[in-house]
């Protein structure tokens, strides 16, 4: 029956592969093509201009600033999210009172797990509305209201949070971390639960403290999950468009004040939709694509470890 098997498998694969090529690969390739033209995005006419868009791109100070902001996100976002998620996951799964009765989480860990995961079920649009309420710049805002109530902030000069040139991007980062920790907490929890309890019990019998069990047992056995989380968060850091464009001030897709929270994606959209420089925007898209690709490959390579079997 071997001759029957091939068409069977092929029948299953051909549709998704064709769809994938038509809807993902082909548009990607087209974008590479468009990035070599002066296409306006509003007409079928375009001229081939070679690598002009790319040379312009790397002389464009706005783009280079945006790139820096993305790199900042790239460092802070995965680091903060993974550390927080790891800490919480450890506390919820094995951080409970050591000694008696083996390995357990802190009291009420099942409840905390739900609470921590909650932000993950909110859509980005809701997150944005929610945190615009939190960061609102008069005393109607949650933070300002509390701070003014406590007398820390002067009612006539409330804090400007997301519209502050220094802290704007950090405010957005806070939201991304807040919403992301829950997901990675659950991811790490699942991985931790698959670690056999006898390993912990053996360590505890040998007199290991929480810190030791974390660094000597949990972390090495969790390495693959962390690696995955890192790659995902790096990709998220290259995007961040939704929150930056809605929460920060500025003309057309936010990024303000005065480009202080500009990221590559907001700049791309403004060039594509608002300024009619679609070819140029496509070049940005290509650059973002390659940066993301290189980052993923590099972080997978660098963090490669010997797989631990148990």
């Amino acid at each position: 029956m071997r001759h029957r098997k091939t068409p069977f498998i092929f029948g299953f694969l051909v549709v998704p592969v064709v769809l994938y090529i038509a809807l993902v690969i082909w548009p990607y390739l087209q974008t590479f093509g468009y990035s070599l033209t002066d296409w306006s995005g509003a007409s079928p006419d375009m001229n081939f201009i070679g690598l002009d868009n790319y040379t312009k791109l790397f002389q464009d100070s706005a783009f280079l600033d945006a790139l820096q902001h993305n790199l900042l996100l790239l460092i802070v976002l995965p680091l903060a999210t993974i550390l927080l998620a790891l800490f919480f996951a450890f506390m919820l799964n094995v951080g409970g009172k050591s000694g008696t009765g083996g390995v357990q989480g802190v009291r009420g860990s099942a409840f905390y797990k739900v609470v921590f995961f909650f932000p993950q079920v909110l859509s980005v649009a809701i997150l944005s509305v929610l945190f615009q309420g939190v960061y609102r710049t008069d005393k109607g805002g949650l933070l300002n209201g509390v701070l003014i109530g406590l007398g820390i902030v002067d009612e006539n000069h409330p804090w400007d949070f997301a519209s502050n040139p220094t802290f704007g991007l950090w405010c957005v980062m806070g939201v991304i971390i807040w919403s992301g920790v829950g997901f990675y907490l659950v991811l790490f929890s699942a991985a931790m639960q698959s670690i056999p309890k006898d390993i912990y019990e053996a360590a505890l019998l040998d007199g290991a403290k929480r810190g030791t069990t974390f660094f000597k047992i949990t972390l090495p056995l969790l390495w693959e999950s962390i690696q995955t989380a890192w790659v995902y968060l790096a990709i998220a850091a290259m995007d961040a468009f939704a929150l930056v464009s809605t929460m920060t001030p500025g003309a057309y897709y936010g990024g303000g004040p005065d480009h202080h929270s500009e990221i590559m994606a907001t700049l791309l959209m403004r060039n594509f939709i608002t300024y009619g420089k679609a070819g140029y925007a496509c070049a940005m898209g290509v650059v973002i694509f390659f940066i993301t690709l290189v980052l993923s490959v590099v972080s997978l390579r660098v963090t490669r470890r010997e797989k631990i079997e148990f």
């Binding site: 990607y28 306006s40 805002g141 959209m269 009619g276």
Partner: protein, 465 residues
């Protein structure tokens, strides 16, 4: 711009729709690019010429279908159906297709890229296509032929004779008119006449009076001035009105043309310095610099601030939040000493741009549709439902009741007469505008001085399309 659609334009959910374009790390953005498969042989056809038949000057063929796309925003899209019915009555054989949508760009960009645009469309809302982009891509019909066509209610007049001043200019790019902006908007300050009467305040005529009054208002425990800080172009309504009145119409022209020398005119510095007195006096509503248009306008409706800048769509936009006895009133921007324009002069212009694509199949039909929108009956129906004026001179039948804000802005339009000015760069020079908005945002936050604002504005002229 310049319409109740403003409310939607900056609306989060519209943006959220745009966001989906990028959601998958750029994947779907790339899909958005994938529309450009049109052939290049469909270069724009000849513009229809004007025939002698007053009833059908563009030579519409009754058998040709008409394809209409309307932005379904603050005004809905039912008003367009009234005009479509009129069209069907005149051309019985025509099959009129109607699309009311908020995703103008999403629906039309692929069609433009494929070379099969609609015959007439209302290019408004959050996802409007950029007029400057369309023009430079040679996608729009020159509407001069419409301006020279006979007016339907009185064929002895031409359409250009019955439009309010500024309408033609507003739709003009590089010397040709490409869009008929249907809704007439005035820009200035708004206040509650009821509050002012209670407190015994008189609406100021000069900027000095305005600043003095701001002091009085502040002493009374109300913030004198609120603005829509997250979108700094509202504050620009005040700054650029001051500049225009001080410097005159030639200066307005030069600024709109992104002429760098315009910014050396002392009127520019005088205008922005006058505006800066609001910051010097600490007259801003606390927090207003970071608030959205909805947040700050609501605070203003609640009486937390006395003045707010906006266009005349404000009344319709804030209907739900305005107290019944608020008595909304419009104030032209007060004048500076030695102004070149009179105190009654107004920033007035037309919004809700209707366009006829150059590659439309039934261009004549599209033009005729626009002509039909400009009748007194059609205009009155629009005014009654949208609480906003149209660009048709005296375009309101006497029996249409007006709300206080609309009445007050209509009175300002009458008082201004022919002396109106209009800054079109906010729509037509978007890259320049974005930089000027950034500079204004820095100014209201006291991070730059008026002189720095001027030099940043001058530098931004290099972004001319």
């Amino acid at each position: 711009m310049g319409s109740a659609t403003e409310y939607n334009r900056r609306d989060l959910f519209k943006r959220a729709a745009a966001i989906t374009v990028l959601a998958a790390g750029g994947t779907s953005l790339l899909a958005a690019c994938a529309g450009g498969s049109g052939s290049s042989d469909s270069k724009s056809g000849a513009s229809p010429t004007l025939g002698s038949d007053n009833k059908n000057p563009f030579g519409v063929k009754a058998s040709d279908a008409l394809d209409v796309v309307i932005f379904k925003g603050g005004y809905g899209d039912d008003y367009a159906k009234v005009f479509e019915d009129a069209y069907k009555k005149a051309y019985a054989g025509a099959n009129v297709s109607h699309l009311g949508t908020q995703e103008i760009s999403g629906k039309l960009q692929p069609r433009f890229n494929a070379g099969s645009p609609p015959d007439v469309f209302d290019n408004s809302g959050a996802q409007a296509m950029k007029a400057d982009v369309l023009v430079s891509a040679d996608q729009l019909t020159d509407l001069t032929v419409l301006l020279d066509a006979p007016y339907l209610d009185d064929p002895t007049k031409k359409i250009r004779d019955v439009l309010l001043p500024g309408t033609v200019e507003q739709g003009t790019i590089n010397g040709k008119m490409y869009s008929l902006n249907y809704v007439y908007t005035v820009f200035g300050l708004w206040y509650s006449a009821k509050l002012f009467k209670e407190k015994g305040w008189t609406p100021p005529k000069t900027w000095d009076e305005f600043i003095t009054l701001c002091g009085t208002i502040k002493a009374a425990g109300i913030a004198p001035f609120a603005h829509q800080g997250k979108y700094p172009y509202y504050a620009n309504y005040v700054i650029f009105s001051l500049i225009a009145k001080q410097g005159g119409l030639d200066l307005v022209k030069k600024i709109n043309a992104c002429d760098a020398t315009a910014w050396d005119d002392p009127a520019v510095l005088a205008g922005v310095t006058a505006f800066n007195k609001i910051m010097e006096g600490d007259f801003l509503l606390p927090g207003t610099n970071g608030m959205t248009h909805t947040e700050s306008q609501t605070a203003w409706c609640q009486g937390k601030a006395a003045f707010i800048p906006s266009g005349s769509w404000l009344e319709n936009e804030m209907l739900a939040s305005t107290p019944a006895d608020f008595d909304m009133a419009f104030l032209p921007i007060p004048s500076l000493p030695n102004d070149k324009l009179p105190a009654t002069a107004l920033w007035a212009g037309a919004g809700e741009p209707f366009m006829v694509p150059s590659k439309a199949k039934n261009k004549a039909g599209g033009l005729e549709f626009l002509r039909m929108m400009l009748t007194k009956d059609g205009s009155s129906k629009f005014v009654a439902t949208a609480n906003s004026l149209t660009v048709l001179k005296d375009g309101v039948n006497a029996d249409v009741p007006l709300k206080p804000g609309t009445k007050s802005s209509a009175a300002a339009v009458t008082a201004a007469g022919d002396v109106t000015f209009n800054f079109s760069f906010q729509d037509l020079q978007t890259a320049f505008d974005a930089e000027v908005e950034n500079a204004t945002n820095e100014l209201v936050n006291k991070r730059i001085s008026p002189a720095e604002w001027v030099s940043r504005g001058k530098a931004a002229t290099s972004k001319k399309v």
